[in-house]
Symmetry: C2
Subunit: 110 residues, 2 copies
């Protein structure tokens, strides 16, 4: 459980995973989606998620160079767990049940 | 997510919840089940779980006095999530899939 919690049990990793649930995104897009995370913390979070095999980091040799982050299969497999945790939280801590299309605020606020 | 992770995302809380999944237990029984947790840490963990409404603490006016801990409905509702996390961990970090009847070591080791 400790290893899984080192991934799940942190403030930002579940939220970054959730932001990437439907599409790949660039650093700036992820930062804009979460809006209250510092660039330094987001950088570290992305590096740790990549090291844990939860996300991929792809560089496109273009001008200007483009880097995109996306979920691996291992990362995708966390989404149902995150959804259940958000629903458990909504049910027992009295918030509205998160709507699937809801934005990242659902996870930020629960 | 932060509130849920304050419960799920710690080293000992998921394991104490798991130990209580099938039956109420006394302090000594919980400590013996987990065997590598200190009495001080177990005391704090039980207090925090009770404050979060995850477990109940029942005192029986007997000689010697008896105290038992058990899961609330809110606590019971976490068990499927813990099971999924343990299975996710087993699948992606290459351990044997935990057997439902397995003892707490399954959660300790994943």
């Amino acid at each position: 459980m400790q290893r899984s919690m080192a991934i799940l049990g942190t403030k930002w990793k579940p939220i970054v995973i959730w932001v990437l649930r439907e599409r790949k995104a660039r650093f700036g897009q992820i930062a804009a989606s979460i809006h209250i995370i510092s660039r330094k913390v987001l950088t570290t979070t992305l590096q740790e998620l990549e090291a844990d095999g939860i996300i991929t980091r792809e560089e496109y040799k273009e001008l200007p160079p483009r880097v995109e982050y996306g979920l691996t299969e291992r990362g995708q497999a966390l989404l149902p767990i995150l959804r259940q945790i958000a629903q458990w939280n909504a049910r027992y801590f009295g918030e509205e049940l998160p709507h699937p299309e809801h934005d990242e605020d659902v996870l930020l606020n629960c």
